[in-house]
Symmetry: C2
Subunit: 340 residues, 2 copies
């Protein structure tokens, strides 16, 4: 036989399969798509060659020919070491995967310029849609997305007039709510510890809401710290140290998230500060560590995984042509604990 060995690594095309099976490209194509219009014996011959040659269809060619988009969905998030975002991404990817779509990741660090470059790159590969973190995007990014005419979900930071769709929560209100809560508890001299707040960072809005509520309530945020670091345990620890060294008389600290709050808690305890007697602590996000923490932490519940799922669902519904509520408020719930 003059048949070639199948294990040379050159890619096999449909034409080669067809030739090997002694049929035309079209017939082979029909068999592969199981679209009818061929005899059993033809199918068997074609499939045998597919198997033997290890043929794998080139979906790029298919999509290209049909003018379709890819199954890829661009998902931009700031940082995976922020646990909130790894949870959100888990929710997104799982939902997308269930419906045959794939996440193309972009870690854009809350920087609109990075996001812009990433968006341009992704768009040139005909994605099915985009899910972006936050409401702040560069003008060029917005214009490119408009032109692309694909569904776009802005998530995390609620935006009542999004480019297209949005799911998130109102971080300003949420921060205000926490501030109000502390005021009502009798706290007046407050502190805040978080991380570097690029323009596109929703935590900045929480801080602003918090400051407003505290001011409205007759207190003041004596000192706030935005570390150039990730919002994790250790930054919470040393941030608290810095904050307390810089400013005496702080009665309670609001942290960007629970991991930072746990770090702050451990700093306080190891420095003979009683919680909540000497200082109050409030976290954010209801992150997993709280489920085993020895003191019930005052925090704000946010359904991160659900948020991700919902973002993906909005996108998928749009792709399938269903009607979609363009804006969803995922909400939040302040949970008083034993640390305030």
């Amino acid at each position: 036989m003059s048949k070639e060995k199948p294990n040379n690594s050159k890619k096999i095309s449909l034409a080669e399969v067809a030739k090997a099976a002694g049929v035309s490209k079209m017939t082979a194509s029909r068999v592969l798509r199981n679209q009818g219009g061929f005899s059993d014996s033809t199918r068997d011959r074609v499939m045998a060659e597919v198997e033997r040659l290890g043929y794998l269809p080139n979906r790029m060619a298919t999509a290209f020919a049909a003018g379709e988009s890819s199954p890829f969905v661009g998902v931009s998030i700031p940082d995976l070491r922020n646990e909130a975002f790894s949870q959100i991404l888990e929710g997104i990817d799982h939902k997308l995967g269930t419906f045959g779509h794939q996440t193309v990741l972009g870690l854009t660090r809350n920087l609109p310029e990075e996001e812009e470059k990433w968006i341009e790159k992704i768009l040139s590969w005909q994605p099915a849609g985009m899910i972006l973190t936050g409401r702040v995007h560069s003008p060029k990014a917005i214009s490119m997305l408009k032109h692309a005419a694909i569904p776009v979900v802005e998530m995390w930071d609620l935006n009542s007039s999004p480019m297209d769709m949005c799911v998130g929560l109102n971080h300003f209100d949420c921060g205000y709510h926490v501030g109000r809560f502390l005021i009502e508890k009798g706290y007046r001299r407050l502190g805040y510890v978080g991380t570097d707040h690029g323009v596109a960072n929703a935590a900045q809005s929480r801080l602003e809401g918090f400051q407003k509520a505290v001011a409205d309530g007759g207190g003041d945020v004596r000192h706030h710290l935005c570390l150039n670091d990730i919002p994790g345990f250790y930054p919470g620890y040393y941030g608290t140290e810095q904050l307390l060294n810089a400013q005496r008389g702080i009665e309670a600290i609001f942290f960007q998230n629970d991991n930072m709050a746990v770090g702050g808690y451990e700093f306080c305890e190891s420095h003979a500060l009683q919680i909540p007697q000497d200082i109050g602590i409030v976290g954010w996000g209801d992150l997993p560590v709280l489920s085993v923490f020895r003191k019930k932490m005052t925090t704000v519940k946010v359904r991160h995984v659900r948020l991700g799922q919902l973002a993906a669902e909005k996108l998928l519904s749009t792709l399938h042509g269903s009607a979609v509520q363009p804006v969803s408020d995922i909400g939040y719930l302040t949970v008083p604990g034993a640390t305030t």
Copy 2:
């Protein structure tokens, strides 16, 4: 002027730009690739139209025409709520992004069948390469990857004869090392708490190494628990409860990771067990929570982010045609703490 308004959302093709600029497709193409062979005035005219029409090149067509692959790299990991993997992914994506490549995510839950389906899908889109978790893959997956003739990195679990390249650590040895460490400390009756161990789960190898070392040292692993859950704080807590209820006399527990170990620690302390006097605790991974934990946890340091970076670097070097060491052992370091 008869020029159309640019803001209709139909996609603009190179041909349209060319026509608008009064040149041929080829000339426009040359300008866009800045590949020489055009006059300044031609370039200006073409670029003006690109701007005006909001033209975005269709890279799918480009790659297709040139027979290139996409810049996408398939990355399969089990689960993002396992903090080790979100760290690894952070390392991979950041490195890939720096070199113009994009991560296409696959959360394959340690299931070779899921991985196989995902691989087939990704391969049909002509990725530049693949990074997979672990050494266990379905035969069909392996065969497809061979055919695809793209670089493949197996990471996490060290494999001295990988399909192509590998970076990771020897989990069996690592588990053995921990077992030996506890034996030398005088522990004999041991327990293990981890999560559901699919065949493709490296934690299973750690458990096996651990069991072997303990047996070799004259002790025994009285009870091990593999919960059907994620390896996080709360599973560590309730897993410890289950383990201790099921088996009396356990002297020390080895946990799948530090987050579980912290959960276990909190369970013990809240049930009046002194650590390490009443029970020893060993974690794994040197996860961030330990940096602020009030007791120095005995753990095993693993450079997760670096592991991810290294996996990406191997792939990128191969793509750029550099020589690459096919197998790298990232190693581990047992760190004795105050919990044993």
